[in-house]
Each structure stands twice: as structure tokens, then as C-alpha cells.
């Protein structure tokens, strides 16, 4: 296994463990955060705060390097336009997220864990992404 593949695997493992520890695979925890008019569950706010606190500090240090540790170059998004496509995509994603309480990472982990809901959700998610990819082509 190449070092690049191993690094990606380890990073994914850390990410998946974090989602599990944070209870993000539990749709009711996520919906409890989104339901600001109900019995509000602040867990997701702590997850975001913890994650962004780390990336906000460490990304700056990492991006001072000439190149990634295992070679190649940094592939950071260059786009900065807040266009109709971005806003429509975010709105459609938000509506789906608020409907079920699954976003892509937790849904995939739930799928691997055998959660029945995720087995219904994930194939539809892949179909939705494929559809958007097709529409985006000229």
C-alpha cells in the first residue's frame, strides 16, 4: 500500500471515529440540534466548534509548507464566488438534511454499521449526486 493511500485511510479512520464519538450517526441528535423550537440538543454545535477550532489553527500552519508531506501539491478550492449554483446547492442540501437528519459522512458510517435508515438513504444520496453531476455537464 502506498503511503498516500495509507495516510488517506488513517485520516478517514480518524474522521469516522470522530463522527461515532460525537453521536452524529444518531439522526435524533442531529435533528435535536436543528429543531431550535423544540428541546434543543447542542451536541452538533460542540462538534463544529471542536473541529473548526482545530482546522482554523492547524490549516494555517500546514499551508505555510511548500508542499504536502507525501509529495504532490495542495489542492485547496480556489473558487470564491458566491453564485446561484452554490446557494441553490446549499439550500437543497439543507432541506434534505433537515428532513432526515443525515448528512453524507454520518450516513455512510451508518450504512457500514448496518443502520436500516442509512441503507435506504445512501443509495438515494448517490443517485442524487449522480443526477446533479449529469445536469452540470454541457
Amino acid at each position: 500500500m502506498s503511503r498516500v493511500v495509507l495516510a488517506a485511510f488513517l485520516s478517514g479512520a480518524l474522521f469516522g471515529a470522530g463522527l461515532a464519538v460525537a453521536s452524529m450517526t444518531d439522526r435524533q441528535v442531529v435533528l435535536g440540534f436543528l429543531d431550535v423550537a423544540g428541546a434543543w440538543n447542542p451536541t452538533l454545535a460542540f462538534v463544529m466548534a471542536g473541529a473548526v477550532a482545530v482546522t482554523a489553527v492547524a490549516f494555517r500552519l500546514v499551508l505555510r509548507r511548500q508542499a504536502p508531506a507525501l509529495g504532490g501539491s495542495f489542492r485547496v478550492p480556489q473558487a470564491d464566488a458566491i453564485d446561484r449554483r452554490l446557494l441553490a446547492g446549499a439550500a437543497i442540501f439543507g432541506i434534505g438534511w433537515g428532513l432526515a437528519g443525515f448528512c453524507p459522512g454520518p450516513a455512510l458510517v451508518g450504512f457500514a454499521a448496518g443502520l436500516a435508515d442509512a441503507w435506504i438513504f445512501v443509495p438515494a444520496m448517490i443517485a442524487g449526486s449522480w443526477l446533479a453531476g449529469r445536469l452540470g455537464r454541457p
Partner: protein, 141 residues
């Protein structure tokens, strides 16, 4: 709350490790769509990341206290939600991880706009499902 914070820190460290080692952004929707439909030479790291995430996540759920409640939502609702999440994240180039964890960490205004829009839309949708539909007598849960 402690688990939320600890999990969040792990997620942040994962994103830092990916950027530091191979220079990539840990956005799950983009990694997944690229793993399925991306250029052949650019798939191995994506598949490895997703395999690690799914294996470690599923494994951790077996050992953690308070496993996710086994709950089966109505199938049409889950299908519709899945379609919208897949379509929206592809169109808007990111989800909670790409625009949220990584975009906010890069102080990207574009990502901040996306996060505000999807958070507000999700909150509005949850409000509608839990407090409006129920009150007009339609059962969805």
C-alpha cells in the same frame, strides 16, 4: 457535550492529517462522488479514506456506550432526503465537512455563505416537519 467536543476535535485532526499528508480537503460529499465518478488515477486515496471512515466509524459504534437508536423512518421520506442531500451537495460543491469543518477553517467566505444557507434551510425544514405538519394532523414520524 464532552463527546461532541471530543468527536469534533477528532474530525478536525483528521482533516488536518489529510491536508498535511496529501494536500487534500476532507469533504465527504466530494470525496465520495470522486471515488465513484472521478478520474481513475485520482480514486485510490478517496476509496481508502472512505473505507477507513466507514470501518472505524462502524467499529467505534459497536464499542461506544449509547449506540445510535435503531429507528426506521418512513421510506419515502428517507429516499427524498437522500436525493436532496446528494443533489444539493454536488451542486453546491460541499457538505457539513467540506464547507463546514474545512471551509470555515480556511476562513472561506464562500463556505461561510454555504454553511449559513444550509443551516437555516435545515432548521426551517425541521421546524416544518416537527411543528407545522404535526399540527395540521399529518403524521410523518
Amino acid at each position: 457535550m464532552a463527546r461532541g467536543l471530543a468527536g469534533g476535535i477528532l474530525i478536525g485532526l483528521a482533516a488536518v492529517l489529510l491536508l498535511w499528508s496529501i494536500g487534500r480537503i476532507a469533504g465527504i460529499s466530494g470525496i465520495a462522488s470522486g471515488a465513484l465518478e472521478g478520474a481513475r488515477g485520482d480514486r485510490a486515496w478517496r476509496i481508502a479514506f472512505l473505507a477507513g471512515m466507514m470501518l472505524a466509524g462502524a467499529l467505534a459504534l459497536q464499542f461506544l456506550p449509547a449506540p445510535p437508536r435503531v429507528q426506521t423512518g418512513p421510506t419515502p421520506l428517507l429516499l427524498a432526503a437522500g436525493l436532496l442531500v446528494g443533489f444539493g451537495t454536488r451542486l453546491g460543491n460541499g457538505c457539513t465537512s467540506g464547507h463546514g469543518v474545512c471551509g470555515l477553517g480556511r476562513f472561506s467566505i464562500r463556505s461561510l455563505a454555504a454553511v449559513l444557507v444550509f443551516m437555516l434551510c435545515a432548521m426551517a425544514m425541521t421546524f416544518f416537519m416537527r411543528h407545522v405538519i404535526v399540527n395540521i394532523g399529518v403524521s410523518v414520524t
